[in-house]
């Protein structure tokens, strides 16, 4: 488990990460969401031992990461602009990483290169941005580390490749309990992959919750009430948001599905149905509770 306690990092007068507390459980995908400058990259650079925290700590299973070879051998870091040696080929990069990561799976590397249609002897400098991202993921996943840190890795991947990468992660999570930590400014990129999401804003963490937990406790109800009834008359419901289109009301309501549906039935509407919320909608409601306008933060 990766645990950050009061993690703080300043660059001169700018507080990039401000007393962040977070726990990243093994075997789950942790999504790190935030706008540019929110502190995602700084968090990941501290998590990967590149930067030394100015305050607090970040540890893997209780061990500090900075200048700890043992801890650092447990993850592979893919930065937002991954470095490749000048004139290097995928094969040469793989040889370098193989020295550093003892469990490096060379055979799988070549297999994946082939399946992603990347030439092992072509100079990486001639690759497109997306191809470089694919190569980074392949190099990282074949390192067979417990964690893989991806900073904006999905940015630049086409939907097919994004899905392929997600499949890779899913496979390794299932087979060897890989824990991907993915930073992105795009909520939609993480919607179908993350188990847990941390929302960063101005160096601080606004919320950190399991998606399932969030999904279980907030629902969207579409209903048509009896004549003369208004949304305010639906007592017993914790309504976060109300939208009205003619006689059709769309309510975002907190609570379990059973509780909400029982309550709705008790008010005898002409019609109601429960529909699933997108991650974006969940975040909107959650951050509104926290007093923020999510649209200004990440959308």
């Amino acid at each position: 488990m990766i645990e950050a306690k009061d993690l703080t990092k300043k660059f001169d007068d700018i507080v990039a990460v401000d007393h962040i507390n977070a726990r990243i459980r093994d075997g789950y995908v942790f999504g790190l969401i935030g706008t540019n400058g929110a502190g995602k990259s700084t968090f990941l650079r501290m998590a990967s031992g590149v930067l030394k925290p100015d305050g607090g700590s970040i540890r893997i299973d209780g061990e500090d990461i900075y200048e700890n070879v043992k801890a650092k051998s447990r993850f592979f870091y893919i930065s937002d602009d991954q470095y490749f040696f000048a004139n290097a080929t995928p094969e040469e990069m793989q040889k370098y990483y193989r020295i550093l990561y003892p469990k490096y799976d060379t055979q799988r590397f070549y297999r994946l290169l082939e399946s992603f249609d990347l030439d092992k002897r072509r100079k990486i400098g001639t690759f497109s941005k997306g191809m470089k991202k694919q190569l980074s993921v392949i190099l990282g996943i074949c390192a067979n580390t417990d964690y893989i840190f991806c900073d904006e890795t999905f940015d630049g991947l086409d939907p097919v490749m994004r899905q392929a990468v997600k499949s890779l992660f899913a496979n390794d999570m299932a087979e060897r309990n890989l824990t991907p930590i993915i930073a992105s400014h795009n909520l939609r990129e993480l919607e179908d992959i993350c188990d847990h999401v941390g929302l960063l804003h101005k160096g601080g963490i606004l919320l950190s919750k399991d998606l399932d937990e969030m999904k279980l406790n907030i629902h969207k109800i579409q209903c048509v009430l009896r004549a003369g009834m208004k949304a305010e008359d639906l007592t017993g419901l914790d309504i976060a948001k109300t939208e009205t289109r003619g006689s059709l009301l769309t309510l975002t309501v907190r609570g379990t599905r059973e509780e909400i549906e029982d309550c709705m039935r008790s008010h005898e509407p002409l019609f109601f149905e429960t529909i699933p919320l997108s991650l974006e909608e969940i975040f909107i409601s959650e951050t509104e509770v926290a007093g923020y306008d999510i649209k200004k933060l990440i959308l």
């Binding site: 001169d12 650079r45 031992g49 200048e67 870091y77 930065s79 370098y96 550093l100």
Partner: protein
Amino acid sequence: MTSKNLYFDLVREDLKRRIWAVGLAFLVFFLCLPVVSAMVTTEAVQNYENWIRNGTVFTGYTLETKLHERILDAAHDILGFENFFLSCTIVVAAFVAAITGFQHLNSKKQVDFYHSVPVRREILFTVRYLTGIGIMLAMYLLNLILAVIVFAVNGAGPAETIGPALITLLANMAGFCLIYGLMTIVMMLTGNFFIAVLGGIVVFSYIPVAALMCQTLMEIFFITTPGHHLSELFDNVVGYGSPFLAYIRMMSNGNNLNYSEYAAILPSVLKMFAVSVVMQAIATVLYRLRPSEAAGKAMAFSRTKAPIKFLLVTPCAAYAAVTFWLVYYRIGWAVFGFLMGLVISHCLIEIIYHFDFRKLFANLPHMGICAAFALAIIGFFYFDPIGYDRYVPKEGAFSSAAVTAPSLDDWHDYGIARVNADGAYEWNYLDENNYVENNMTVTDYGVIAELANAGAARAKEIKKWKLGGGPRYGSSEEEGPGFWTYMNVAYRLRNGKTVYRSYRVNVTELRDTFDRLYAGGEYKAGVYPVYGLAAESVTGVYAAKAGKISEITTDAELTGELFTAYKEDLAALTLEQRANEVPVASLRFLTVSEQEYIGMMTRSRVTGYTGSFRLDDMREVNFFPVYPSFEKTITLLADAGYDVDERLSADQIARIEVVNNYPYSTEQKGYAYYDYETEQSSEDDRHFTVRNDGSAENEKTIEEIVALAKPADLVKMNSLHGWNDNLEFRVFLKDEEDGMPEESYLDYILVTREVPESLKERIRYDRTESSSIHYGLNGNDLD
């Protein structure tokens, strides 16, 4: 994976990345060593073939021996310290290797890459650092072997070349490591290529420049600063204050060594390696501490910004103030210089630190601190709170002193012949000040204190005068009447320290004190090297006068008597006698080692020996004056058949060229330098020639000249007696006696204002103006 395997795997990978450096280093060393070696050996062999073709013969050598000697010399030049291009390669390569080896630290992308992988930073650093050295060493060694093979193929076997070549390699690598180490530290401290280059320039020059600034300030403000000692001190600071200069100095020292002496450089090489190891350790620590976010910033460590700025701005402000003050000696200019130096340097550094011109006035309090310290530096030199110029040791602390007063005893070159490591004799010139400081032990505190107090009092006047309007500093009207001299004093203290000061004193005013100093044997024993000669080492006596050297005797008994008599006469000599007498001859007491040296020179000359000292130089060095009052000496010289009073007669003289330094008026122009004999204007309008053409008039003039003028070499051995520089006489002899080359002449000079009457009229010499009179101790006029 063991860390050892990891290390070598990383080295292998690093080499792949720096294959360009391997190639470039190989190419440069290849050109500097084997290619040049092949070229010079080819030339030597071609010469050898020409010798055979032309039937050339070398005395004492076979052609094969001569060829071998040439090839061996070439090997020494190319594989040894003389290979200038190799030294240049080392210096450039050290800078390039450090910058390119750690340039990745200035890139965020690369820092993220290298610092996220599971390798300790120390390992990452060591791999990079040692690979840089390894590439250089391997390429140098490889090409050195190739060059040795080239020489071996041409007859200079490895046994003759490999040893010194390896010592040179060690010295070059020591220099490389030193420069590389410091530049690597610079790379650790900076986060940008441009700043790293600027930082390199600052770091590599800071101590030498600061030392030179300090020396200049001392020389300006501390009047009693001993120039020669200060220069020696600061030369060492400058020489060792930068790895670059230390390396150049070591190579220069090595260049002065014979091939067989190369091992003498090894202690310096080891010291350099030791220092470079310390630098590597510092660089390792800095690499570990260096924050990754420093990539792209000006300075890697925020904490270093203010101290570095302080170290640059403070001397800039202080030195700019003094520099502008020196132009007009006005406080306004000093203030202008101070503000300019302060503001420009501070603003420039702030702009660089922030990469933002708008930040030029950031951290103004720092500027204030720098200004305060700069003012403190100026104040320190200006007000002399430590009493540098007032220093006179207390009697209880005083042990002895050495005094040199150039106006009293301005010796000609002095030196000794020594045996070097090869068993050969070589000539070593001795610095007058060093000789005196090593040999003079004046223990009379009263004399020294009187001289020092007078010197300190004069220093106070000079400083006041200099700071008040400097430009006239040193002019004779400010000094007033009397015989002035600079005086260097080395105070030896009871605590073992030696303190040096330099004074300007009026000998006339301190005549009693100087008389006591001169009369005491301690002064003469220290200032006249003849007292340092052992009687048993003297093999013969030679006399010199007017350029003519005569052997007086090589008889041991007479030599001993003359040596003893001369020392006794010299011991009895007083300042008063010197003020009134002009030397009549000079004597040389030839030592065994000098005799050996001359013999070696004579033999070597045949074989093309080119030493720094030639036989002709024997005319200039180690001769001591004989004054008319040296009765014992003169008597013994007469017994040996040498008449000190003998002078040239007109019959011996072909012509006398009169050089007129006298300032002539407009109406005299065109007259004084008209050659009466040739009735043509001389090319040099200051020259006037009197030819011994048989005419009575010229013969009379020549007679008058030789009666009044004295040999300049003797006259100038005693600066306490005046002479007249208005006229110089170049005496050309009829017979080129003593092997004097054609067109060489003897210098004569007047020791009186009296000018030969017939000559005076012919050149319209007017003695009412005296522009070039050297005044003696006893007054402002000549006899």
